[in-house]
């Protein structure tokens, strides 16, 4: 709460903020709305904002999707498009991912799998040493207990039957048939187009400057330049910039950038069948280390290129090129796929994952500014978790019911006790 607020204001704010948090109550009650559903401004036209727009529009809300840039041009366009259960251990994120996987398959059927380049390719995690294989097996056993389909691949020969071009020096791995891939920009575009058919509108090239409130409750957002968009609710789907948008809305959340590079090769055809990555990836995803970490992630795209990741480092928004990181990613890739030595690198993407200290996204109403719902901070899993996030946001808007299989309280912004306005 603001330090200069009077005790009365603080009390009012607390009372107002508790009300919509009560389970089963939406941002606006039905009686307030009457027959008309309310208006929602979604900030951020990346994959998460697109999914929020799609689900809110399909729930009958009048949605205005705004972005200071162009749709899908931020972190969404800098990723591989992974929908992974394989890198998640038992816990709330796995639950959210499994809901999201189901929803993505539904969206694929609805919007056209080809249009999204939705591919049920499966993930293949390989170990590069015997010790690594033992650790990977233990991790997979835990996932299996949580219901994940994880199949042990016992030998190098078995690995090469799945991926003929893999190095013959790898001791084994685990196959995850449930892992999916989409082309994120196409998916975001399809979701926005689908939402438009349900009456959603878009405003690109506009920047939100702050919230407009009345009696502690949000009534709209003010754009840079002074224009006000009236709204009953605003969704902060600004991804890596969700922290800054939170500040502008009076509801700060701790989202930080975690830089990653992805290498894109010349088109060589579908030579890699699965998403193939080394076991180090799982540890790196969960790490809090600010220093550079790389692990090897290799996969083909529909366009015939091969994508190579993944690096993680917390260097702020440093947009520069790092030949060192690129060299390490290349070295990791040629270690597990020797044929890549002769393949040319054409492009390097650099993106900033929206990183929260506990590696979980922020999804839910902000108690400090009633009407603000956060949907950001998905780190490297935003494409995968976008569908479930959009679905949950729509449920929060409607006032429930929340899906039973997801412990939604793990994602609410209230968990960041130390963050104050």
């Amino acid at each position: 709460m603001a330090a200069d607020a009077s005790p009365f204001e603080v009390l009012c704010n607390i009372l107002l903020s508790i009300a919509p948090m009560a389970r089963g109550r939406g941002v606006i009650t039905r009686s307030e709305k009457g027959e008309r559903m309310g208006r929602v401004v979604v900030i951020g036209a990346g994959i998460v904002g697109a999914a929020c727009t799609w689900y809110a529009a399909h729930a009958g809300w009048e949605v205005v999707l705004v972005d200071r840039g162009r749709p899908g041009a931020g972190t969404t366009s800098r990723g591989e498009g992974n929908l992974l259960v394989s890198d998640k251990g038992d816990g709330p994120e796995l639950d959210l991912m499994r809901l999201s996987r189901r929803l993505w398959l539904e969206l694929g059927d609805h919007l056209g799998r080809d249009r999204l380049e939705l591919d049920e390719k499966g993930g293949l995690v390989v170990a590069t040493s015997d010790a690594g294989l033992a650790g990977l097996r233990t991790f997979a056993a835990g996932q299996r207990a949580a219901g994940v389909d994880a199949i042990d691949v016992a030998t190098a020969g078995d690995l090469r039957r799945l991926e003929p071009l893999l190095s013959d020096r790898l001791p084994g791995g685990v196959l995850y048939p449930e892992d999916l891939q989409v082309q994120p920009v196409l998916a975001a575009d399809a979701l926005v187009a689908g939402a438009r058919q349900r009456g959603a509108s878009t405003r690109f090239g506009v920047e939100v400057e702050g919230a407009v409130t009345s009696g502690g409750r949000l009534t709209g957002v003010r754009l840079v330049g002074g224009e006000v968009l009236g709204a009953d609710a605003v969704v902060n789907a600004a991804g890596t910039w969700g922290g800054e948008v939170g500040v502008r809305l009076g509801a700060p959340i701790p989202v930080l950038p975690r830089r990653g590079f992805i290498l894109v090769t010349e088109p060589v055809g579908p030579l890699v069948r699965h998403k193939v990555y080394t076991a180090e990836y799982v540890d790196n995803v969960a790490s809090n280390d600010a220093a550079l970490q790389t692990s090897t992630v290799v996969e083909s795209t529909r366009g015939g290129t091969i994508l190579i990741g993944a690096s993680r480092e917390r260097v702020g928004y440093d947009a520069g090129m790092s030949p060192k990181v690129v060299a390490r990613l290349a070295a990791g890739a040629v270690e597990i796929f020797p044929f890549l030595r002769r393949v040319d690198l054409l492009r390097v993407y650099r993106g900033f994952r929206p990183y929260c200290p506990d590696h979980l996204p922020v999804i839910g109403p902000d108690p400090r500014v009633p009407g603000v719902i956060h949907a950001c901070g998905h780190e490297g899993a935003g494409i995968g978790l976008a569908a479930a996030t959009g679905y949950l946001v729509a449920r929060y808007l409607d006032g429930g019911p929340m899906p039973d299989e997801v412990p939604v309280s793990a994602f609410v912004p209230d968990r960041f006790a130390e963050v104050s306005v």
Partner: protein, 556 residues
Amino acid sequence: MIDAGTVTADPVNETVTPVDVAIVGAGPAGLAAAVTCARAGLRVCLIDRGTSLGGQYWRQPAASPDFLQSLVAREAPVSGPGRGPVHPRDLRHLHHDLATFDALRERVGEALHAGLVDLRLRTQVWTAVVTDAAVVTDAPGGTDAPGPAADGAAVVDLHVLGPAGVAGVVRARRLVIATGAHDIGLPFPGWDLPGVMTIGGIQALLKSSDVVPGRRVALGGTGPFLLPVATGLAARGVEVVGVFEANAPTGWWPHLSTVVRNPDRLREGLAYAATLARRRVPFRPRTMIVEAHGHDRVEAVSVCRLDRAGRPGLESVVRHDVDAVGIGWGFSPILDLAVTLRCATRLGDNGFAVVAVDSEQRSSVPMVLVAGEPTGVGGAALALAEGELAGHVVVADLTDPVGTTARSRRTGQRLRTVRRDVVRLRSFATAMHAAHPIPPGWAAAVRRETTVCRCEEVDAATVLEAVAAGADTARQVKQLTRAGMGWCQGRTCEPACALLAAGAAQQTTREKAPLAGPVGASALAGDTERLVAQPVSLGALADLLPRSSSQPSHDQ
């Protein structure tokens, strides 16, 4: 579970060559800059992807292996005024202002001889990074200092790729980007048939190999470059069935005073016109090649007139039998390296992005200067002037930052002259772009099935669908359609994609504010990003790491 093998020290294991100034591109601008810097005693690294000096403008036949030695040894010319294999006498007529080239090449040879120039041919910069001094002193390769970073200022690291693979880092206190331009070929039905080329490609074949593309050739597009290509072909006995220029020479009238102030350019244009008339090459203003016909290769073209609004009258086409076609819609600057270094761009005179520079050729990135076409397409004379200007600025920066020595007073005089030349020639370039815009109706003949991106085989229907869905920049089109993602990285199709996207954007705003003048790919500027300037093999990259650190450790 497994430690990822986090490495704190920079593991990249490359040899670092410190120099005062690195110059990328050995065409007119790069040569002028290199000679100016070397004359002042600076250590210069001159990098070019080609096999000899001259760039595209003074493109030379593939150099013999002893080219470098002959340059250093300053051998006497083997025959006539030419220099042995460098440009045989019978190709000299294709070139303009060869005396300037000969002089520049001689100066480079002298500097090579004196050890002031590190000439790296068949070399490309695959990426570049601005590094500050603190980081530089930590880098393992940087121990061969006292390098240029000794004064504590930032440096530019160019990661280069030579004929034998990755070739280390050139660490420069100043960088001059002089990477030139390539010509724009816009799609039309049949443009992907064998025999249809860009006029730049035709000119390159002529200059490097003395090869003509066919016996009956049609040339189309817009701009003065059509003329030397036509005269070059005609001099080789090729029948040029027509020069189909989309604009009319009357477009120059409003810029008459600019033309008069550039008598060399005027003389040049009149000489080409006279040659065309003497060889009876038909020059057809306000016309456009709208289709190429043929099965295995081009056999004919359809040409039609353009109306005052720049729209082709497709109902009245004339057919010409040909066996080759040359297309040129002007030039698009090569910005890869500048974009990699995140130099700010702006809209150039022809609507495409150019690097923004100040009156001293400095870009927005300290230490990076840009000369020639990347600052705005303007031809060789302007490139020479800008290259020399950039060279003087670098010399002043590195030898005499306060500008008080006698030499700086002498060069001050020269600097003022060069700067005046730049301004005058730039105004001519602006007039040229105004007189030769890409006509608004250029895409009228494009069919739904016409290929726009050849690498990724994306047709016009797909691009227009993306544009209709709201893509208003080449990058948006690329992300939705893959156009521009293939081998050439959009070098061929990006102008077309940008024009298609911008054209749609114009149409949607036309009711409110009708846009006059040339179509502009305004959305292109500032929307590109390129961390890798040139393709490089993954194996070469992997070899940059010392063996040990490429293997992650697996300690429990």
